[in-house]
Symmetry: C2
Subunit: 329 residues, 2 copies
């Protein structure tokens, strides 16, 4: 799809992935509308729009607000990225997670159905829905077995999207993201938003990374520019509609390797190994890496950014912008 | 498990399956508590308790009511059967379906976790979660692809149960029911609760059964006494906890065969064939029958009631009790 002149809505557009997508869409000449509820600690950040702040419109609203009705009208593409991303929070407050990740998605699909049934809707799901992998790499046919409430609600959110394709013909597609990293992530203290924010923050502070066990859990990681490219291709490829696809990376790395790569970029960083805390162990999924061949063969997408390049780019961004991303958590 | 003296809660216990379970549990000497919200048109019916009305306690409450907190305490087994069962209603009012089938299940599991984490919880899911079968018979590993909002919310409801086993050790099990029929079903006019109620009502009235297309869609059907036995075995078999199982039947029949069997029991019944209405076709799943070998091998459960016996038993029940089951819809 040529995005020049296209009218795009990004839910969660002040957040990490949403704002990177907004920058790319503006560069491509699209008309970009952002809606974000700015839930504290979830990554929404006006600083993410520096450079494009006069080229996008922003509405502060929850997906459940009446404002959404007019926001979904007349859009060519809706990139639906809004969502709670904290797995531990979803266990301590499952009700809020259900409202944001399950109910809000249903409400959005109802709005699209009634107000703009011709729109393309790209939804971002997560690898978390597979739970502990039974075999590797994990394909889209792997059983779904979430290990936290957030995963259950993400499953439902994705299923609403695919259902509205099947029943109402709405052009929906879901991408199941793996660990995504890069500029404009909120660098929270603690680890409620995944290991990468904790690691990078420690690296920038010359602090310490704590690894559980031997740090040998394997992951595939996508730099955010690769994810943005995947979102654009998903919207542009009619063969994708009605389907869910994994993203992933050729490069499978251990958490230890990620930490050591950061150490080469930020030599003051130290690493420490401790036994698994019980409450982390309970919801850990072991090794994970995806089979993303289905998406590659459908859209010719391939990840372009390797881990070293990606981490260098990320550290460089925060060396300049750190004061805007140090989360309060 | 010897149910004599066991303390059991049945959510949705005034409904079709719940009340049949209550009768069985009372006969086994269990202490039976029923909670039901009596949503109009959903099968809750005090007449279902005739014969055991002085041997059970009934609380009229929604799963979201505060009353549930004390109701889940001190129970040995919670049979969690409450839920919206209308597929068409779930499409016209997805919000209500989400509240009843998704959010209420999460709330119940939170209550069990906090108030009674040692309880056994048996949840009833539905074959609808598989969507249009990709291959037959459908095993538990078949991809999940609901064809209506009710199916999506049932998936989430089941996943909350299994998740709370994995994370908190609660003894949950989910049975994915196929078409269930028998005494104490609400016989609604129209077909919002599945074909069997429409068929049996027509048979009793000497009316007409309308079959779509050639009526050759295949189904497996369980008489409710077989389903009740399965619920008891699921609760009694620790190997089941944390897992979801299909129910099903050896006897795979076409809708036409079901109608013709009813015709032999009620000769005034006539059959008519019409082309598929568009709104039904959109959410039809084609043929379905389950592979239930996993549950059989784990619990030694087998369906005992064949279709002819089951339909005869059902018709006989309504010949005596019809005035209590003619739904207003």
């Amino acid at each position: 799809m040529d995005f020049a002149g296209k009218d795009c809505l990004i839910t969660g557009g002040l957040g990490f992935i949403g704002s990177n997508l907004a920058h790319r869409l503006v560069a491509l000449g699209a008309s970009v509308h952002i809606v974000d509820s700015l839930i504290p600690g979830h990554g929404g950040n006006y600083h993410n729009l520096v450079g494009i702040e006069h080229k996008v419109t922003v509405t502060e609203a929850d997906m459940r607000d009446q404002a959404m009705r007019s926001l979904v009208r007349h859009r060519d593409v809706i990139f639906n990225l809004a969502g709670q991303v904290s797995h531990l929070d979803s266990m301590s407050d499952p009700e809020t997670d259900l409202q944001i990740n399950c109910r809000s998605q249903m409400i959005l699909m109802e709005l699209v159905r009634h107000e703009n049934p011709g729109a393309i809707v790209v939804y971002t799901s997560t690898r978390q829905i597979y739970g502990k992998p039974l075999d590797l790499p994990v394909s889209e046919n792997h059983p779904i077995r979430p290990v936290d409430v957030n995963g259950v609600n993400n499953v439902a959110g994705e299923m609403y999207h695919l259902l509205y394709h099947d029943v109402y013909g709405i052009k929906t597609v879901s991408l199941r993201l793996t660990n995504t990293y890069g500029p404009r992530m909120l660098l929270t203290k603690g680890s409620t938003q995944g290991f990468i924010t904790t690691f990078v923050r420690a690296a920038l502070e010359g602090g310490e990374i704590t690894l559980y066990g031997d740090g040998e859990q394997r992951r595939d990681m996508n730099e955010v520019s690769d994810v943005v490219e995947a979102l654009l291709r998903a919207a542009s490829t009619p063969e994708c509609f009605g389907l869910a696809f994994n993203l992933g990376h050729f490069e499978v790395v251990t958490l230890r390797q990620v930490a050591e790569t950061l150490q080469t970029i930020c030599p003051r960083l130290t690493l420490r190994y401790i036994p698994w805390p019980e409450e982390k162990k309970r919801i850990d999924i072991g090794d994970y890496y995806a089979d993303f061949s289905r998406f590659s063969s459908t859209t010719q997408w391939l990840p372009r950014v390797d881990l070293t390049t990606g981490l260098e780019r990320m550290v460089e961004f925060y060396r300049v912008n750190r004061q805007h991303y140090w989360g309060a958590l």
